[in-house]
Point group: C2
Chain length 239, copies 2
């Protein structure tokens, strides 16, 4: 199982972009950055500034003089490309690539230069290809954005966060009994206030009110606040 | 079903970041950009430059003076926040938010200013919250990266690309018969060349070779190339 896939930037041009790639990597817990022939040299002050602390606080960058050298110790290499190449290769979405990467021992993701992408010679070295499904009418993707998507999918493939969860702070969700008491009290006060002009419609109106309150999934705290609101409103009526 | 969710940037600071957000949006097919009180004014030359054509070619940007005004026509609002707030809200991952968004009529995604994020007053206006699961040790996320992840998940939730597919170019995958013929010919030539010194091991060696060739999923073209290679090598032997 891969613990820390490498991000390999081949012939990147701007230090600032390298820094943004490092930042995106570290956002997703990746720390192994390999740079093949950076045009503007290395180390780069612009890269450090753009990394927002990632290059000083976690990401380790190493420079190589060829792609072959940069990937030499890795078992499975993905090349990211926007356009199909005339090669026999398996093409993955970033999501399925992340799942595949989880099953490999050591993995690298290759990214090409800002304008031109990877050359065919580099794509040929890869075991698989990743193409990010995007708006076919506008595929001009910033290199750090491409790194972000691939690294984000890697992180997400190992993440256990519940897809959706109700954050309720200190108070818990009100029980069905608390909701029933609140709706019962409302019904009683509405009755006193002459709300139910047609007795025929009363069951439907009460049912709708029950459905509304059930849907809110209010907390005990909010139910208590609602009791206070009812008191305030009925107090107004009585005064 | 939402066709085109709005991206709403609340009090963004740098025009360059707004442009990068627009570029990320348009990469994912989104065109409705709403900007609440941009600090450096609007329109912005820096934004246009950073958008790499997105602001001139597809994304429509509108400026509003308050968040309430910017979201007024929308049915369901997500607020993106990195940290939990003391509010009762449903928290979504970007992926489950995209699925939820697909079921709503009109949707907006709120993003806060670069440094500070959304204020509680803006989060309170939202129906749900998105928190991107990321490295808890480094949550400094560029605003355009946050937009990219949310917009990418939106695009992916409607995308039908196969998770993995073999790209074979002109030629199709070789049939089992073609592979069997190739392996059979190799076995025969290996036999002539004295490869099988121990007859006991022959079945195992042949089986391993069959497994290797089956695994490659070579194309008919590649199988044909291999036949040529065998001819060349055996020709060398004979000469």
């Amino acid at each position: 199982m891969t613990a820390n896939p490498a991000i390999i930037l081949v012939s990147p041009q701007l230090g600032e972009n390298i820094g943004m790639c490092a930042r995106a990597m570290f956002n997703c817990g990746l720390t192994d950055l390999r740079i093949v022939n950076p045009r503007d040299g290395w180390p780069s002050e612009k890269a450090v500034a753009a990394s927002a602390g990632a290059l000083e606080g976690g990401v380790i960058a190493r420079v190589y003089s060829s792609t072959a050298e940069a990937i030499a110790d890795l078992d499975y290499i993905f090349a990211t490309t926007a356009r199909p190449r005339d090669m026999v290769k398996e093409i993955f979405t970033p999501r399925s690539a992340a799942e595949k990467a989880r099953t490999e021992k050591s993995v690298g993701f290759l990214f090409g230069a800002e304008r031109s992408g990877l050359v065919n010679e580099d794509v040929a070295l890869a075991n698989g290809v990743i193409t990010i499904p995007l708006n076919p009418g506008f595929t001009s993707l910033n290199i750090a954005m491409a790194v972000m998507v691939v690294a984000y999918e890697w992180f997400a493939s190992g993440d256990k966060t519940a897809p959706a969860q109700l954050m309720t702070g200190e108070s818990g969700i009100a029980s069905a009994k608390e909701i029933a008491e609140l709706v019962g009290r409302m019904e009683s006060e509405m009755d006193k206030g002459g709300f139910f002009r047609s007795p025929d419609l009363r069951p439907t109106l009460v049912r709708n009110l029950q459905a509304l309150f059930a849907r809110t999934r209010m907390t005990s705290q909010e139910a208590s606040t609602f009791h206070g609101i009812i008191s305030a409103l009925t107090g107004l009526r009585r005064s």
